[in-house]
Symmetry: C3
């Protein structure tokens, strides 16, 4: 085993192999040259209308765009799946692989297996649910398998940003994994870091 | 697929459906109005006495309380499982679902399967173990399955904080997953961010 | 269930049981006493030549060394697996357990199962691949199972640093998980935080 540590910049997107699903990098010249040094804690949410069952959505372009808009040069992005039947994953956004993922997850936690969470008649509705238990049960999906897969896949990923670039690898995409669609979903995107101006100030 | 980006605040806890297991949000007025701007890096540990086998513990109230105590308005929380047979997960803390999780994990990596790590007679004790190999083997559990599940579930999650609120969704809880209890466990909770005072200063 | 919150420092490495695979902690005296307060966003990549199939590599010494070199006292480390067939995990780096992990993962997503991603004749090469489809297909591995395992294990972990120490537990190591080796791989290591000087300044 050989491990060597080397300091170097993120592979710039321009040098990476072209991927159809990636948006181009907008030069960070959008940041006014006169702005004071700023530490950024920017929280936004991406809204996605998902497809039925298990479905994956590449949200890398939105993340990259937000980093560029803010002009963050050194920092990172916290990505949070905000639902109990979704997850966040990083992998290759290749059509046939996405179908493999769907099949694999369906086998790993089959929807048809017996789950206690799906016995709606044995569960209580939240105390303040409008219309009471009947109304709650009428809209409550039998989706225990989706919860289990959400826990396995995980709900947060953190991606470093360096020299203004997301530090993911050439073939990596950040994805929302819908495990019980279709629904309207939100993903939390938090960009933390410093702008180019602040970095320059420190170097002077 | 429709993806739209919108900037908005975290859903405030008050607006979320009432959950019994969540502690109320303490207004951040606890922060003295005269305090100087502060960047917070606060590391604490939560101590939990766990239950036998696989067991899940909602630690969201403790995390939320710490964020409020510190008066952090924009930032995030790093949650770290500090043991090799525990994990951190985010999902719905619903009684029957928790039993589904236990059953699912027990099937996924059965304790009764053969594992090399459980052949204590073929392993060495740490060089400085008091009492030597005998004493080490006497206390060493056969828990390879717990290690495997810990790796699958993952050991860290990062949750953004915005406008003083944890940005998890309405039904989400942050949980310690005990995979080889009962034990006394610690979870690392790191709150990073800025206080309201600093935010206000920047806006002036 | 008993949960108590306590504020305390990370268990210092010196107090932990001796582990052969861990490099000693270098005192942060390397930081010049005269340096101004600094907020650190340091991104580096570790390069690893991996072994065939599934293989795990302890990268904790490199992470700990980088934290020490930078003199970061309060902060955290973002660790990112930068490939679609690798992952990052935290667990015990024990020889026989590593073999259990290999066996477990091979059973969980068998390489011999049918996967759509492995039908190379039905996939297109990237538009600009040198030599076109033939050249692409000749080098493209049939590794759908590795992608699936990467998604399950997860691609990022965040580890807090407090009082200059990595806050992982005594038996925890941060590992790169190779799922389709051998290859030359890079792991992104981002150290974020403040130096001792800045901490002291705040306290004065």
């Amino acid at each position: 085993m050989q491990i060597s540590t080397l300091r170097r910049q993120c592979r710039p997107f321009a040098a990476a192999k072209q991927r159809v699903h990636r948006s181009p990098v907008i030069p960070s010249a959008a940041v006014p040259a006169t702005s004071a040094s700023t530490q950024v804690f920017d929280y936004t949410q991406i809204e996605i209308e998902t497809k039925p069952g298990i479905a994956l959505f590449d949200i890398t372009p939105q993340i990259r765009q937000r980093v560029q808009q803010l002009g963050v040069t050194e920092g990172f992005v916290n990505v949070l799946s905000r639902h109990t039947t979704t997850a966040v994953a990083i992998n290759e956004y290749e059509t046939r692989l996405l179908d493999d993922v769907r099949q694999f997850l369906r086998k790993l936690a089959p929807a048809s297996d017996p789950y206690l969470h799906n016995d709606l008649h044995l569960r209580e509705a939240p105390a303040d649910w409008p219309g009471g238990w009947e109304a709650w049960a009428a809209q409550e999906p039998e989706n225990a398998h989706s919860h289990l897969l959400s826990m396995l896949l995980g709900n947060s990923e953190t991606v470093p940003v360096s020299k203004g670039q997301l530090c993911i690898g050439t073939w990596q995409s950040v994805m929302l994994v819908e495990l019980d669609g279709p629904r309207k979903r939100t993903v939390g995107i938090q960009v933390v870091g410093t702008t180019q101006q602040q970095q320059q100030q420190q170097q002077q």
